[in-house]
Structure formats: C-alpha cells, structure tokens
Symmetry: C2
Subunit: 158 residues, 2 copies
C-alpha cells in the first residue's frame, strides 16, 4: 500500500458532499443535524479524530451521490464553526466553501423551557431559535420564550 493511501482514513468519493474540518468528536452530531440515521439510503462515511495539520485532530463526513443544500449545511456551524464543504464531481472538488452560522434555525434545537409553546403537545409548533456568536461561542435564543441555550450539543434534536 502506498504511504499516501495509508493516511487517507476515508477514501475519495466520485460525487457528493464532503464536510471537512469538523471539530474533533463532533461528526456524529453533524450526522444528526443532517438527519442522517439508520434509514438513510446514501452511502455515508465518517472519520473521527483523524490527524490534521490545521486543527490537531478533526472529523470528516462524506455523503455519496448527494449535494446537500447550503442552508442545511450552514446548520453545521452551530457545532463545528470551522467546517469546510467540498462538493465533488468525478472525484474532483467542484465547489468549496465554509459554513456560515445561520441567523435562525428551525426544528433542530429543543427548547429547555418545558412551558414553551414549542414543547406544548396540544399545539405543536416547530422550534425556532435566533443564533448569535458571543465571545466566539454560539448562543441560541428561543423565538417564542426567549430562553437562551449555550450548550448547543445537548439540545440538538436532529
């Protein structure tokens, strides 16, 4: 085996979306944000804690045969603000961009306030949060009850 191939934890894909430079250990949460689970039909590969020159350790996710839209990808910035996206066609990078924190996210965070209308079983309302950076930390504020979340990982619903 070539030395170069030994280093490549997950191999190149022919076509699809590569999410690179994910903060170490966060790949499983990235899958959750993208709604990738046991019912997903695409070929998905993931590597956690691979060596990275820039980041020390990083995670990577590759989804074959699917170009995930930018809006969905930007949600990743909630937990992995340094993530870079590569859209691949015929084994080459066709487009490359960084994720940007969205101003509002819907349906992927659960409000910790039990009395919030978004947690009411009689009148189910999709959760909606304003998202901001404060001293390099993501803070989400519930659109309905103004409850703030700083531990984003904990309240992800996928």
């Amino acid at each position: 085996m070539k030395e170069k191939d030994k280093k490549l934890t997950i191999s190149k894909i022919k076509e699809g979306t590569v999410i690179d430079h994910i903060s170490s250990g966060k790949a499983l949460l990235v899958l959750k944000i993208l709604g990738i689970g046991s019912k997903t039909k695409e070929t998905v590969s993931m590597a956690m804690n691979v060596p990275s020159k820039k980041m020390g350790r990083k995670d990577i996710v590759k989804v074959e045969g699917k170009f995930i839209n930018k809006e969905e990808l930007n949600r990743i910035a909630l937990i992995a603000p340094k993530a870079t996206i590569n859209l691949i066609r015929d084994y080459r990078v066709d487009k490359k961009f960084k994720v940007h924190l969205p101003r509002i996210v819907e349906g992927i965070l659960k409000c910790p306030n039990k009395s919030c209308i978004s947690n009411c079983s009689k009148e189910p309302v999709i959760s909606r949060f304003y998202v901001n950076l404060h001293e390099n930390k993501v803070i989400a504020k519930c659109y309905y009850c103004s409850k703030k979340i700083t531990e984003i990982d904990k309240y992800l619903t996928g």
Copy 2:
C-alpha cells in the same frame, strides 16, 4: 487512482478492531453499543450502505489502536447478528470471528416498564436483560420485571 482503491470506502487500519458485515444502516447503533461518542479519543471510521456481495448493502466500523474485548463486541449481535470481527495487527487480520448473541446484557437496554426497579430513581439498578432468538428475531426479557422487548433499536441506551 486505482480501481480497487476507489471501491474501498474506508481504508485499512494498521492496528485495531474492524467490525464488518453490519446490517445496513446499523453502524450508528453499533457505535452507541460500544460507547463511542464525541468524547472518544481513538480514531474511528464508519461507512454506511456500502455495496456487499453477501449482503447487498452493509455497514462497517473501524476503531484504530484498540482491541475491543469479545464480551463487548458480542453485544453487537443484538442489532447486527451477522457482524464479523477482525482484529488487525500491522495491516493484517490477526484474528477473525463472528459475534455471538450474549445470554444476558447489562446496562445497554432501558426497560420500557416505568415501574421497573431498573427505572427507579431512588434505588438505581443497572438494567439487565435475558436475550434470546425467536424465529430469527432477537427478544430481550427484563431480569427484574420480565417485560419483553422486540424493538431492540428503540431501547438502546449506549
């Protein structure tokens, strides 16, 4: 790139544990069973829905630098009864075996019976289930309250 390399979704590892022939879509649950999450320090790679001659589609998990013990690996049979284990040393398969359904599992299933002693907050007791195959389907029965579980995926606590 060589044709063979294109087909290898996640590359060979130097040393560690490879879990192959996981039922398609179940790799994330395998990680859960093995307690692999965002705090894991090992390099872990995973592929879902890769083509397989035997199974049509299958999942694979590779954990570098760690030889997971047999007892822990056998728990995988709860959700992926055809899984095969390869222990790798210096890029070669050193040991190979199939997972076997354990007779009892502790701490990885949550009893659906809210009154079960294993769900009692005052006297926390680690969950314990007897495991059996019935018509090729895994059935788990609570050691404490005899409640039966057939949808194993749903009650995994990781």
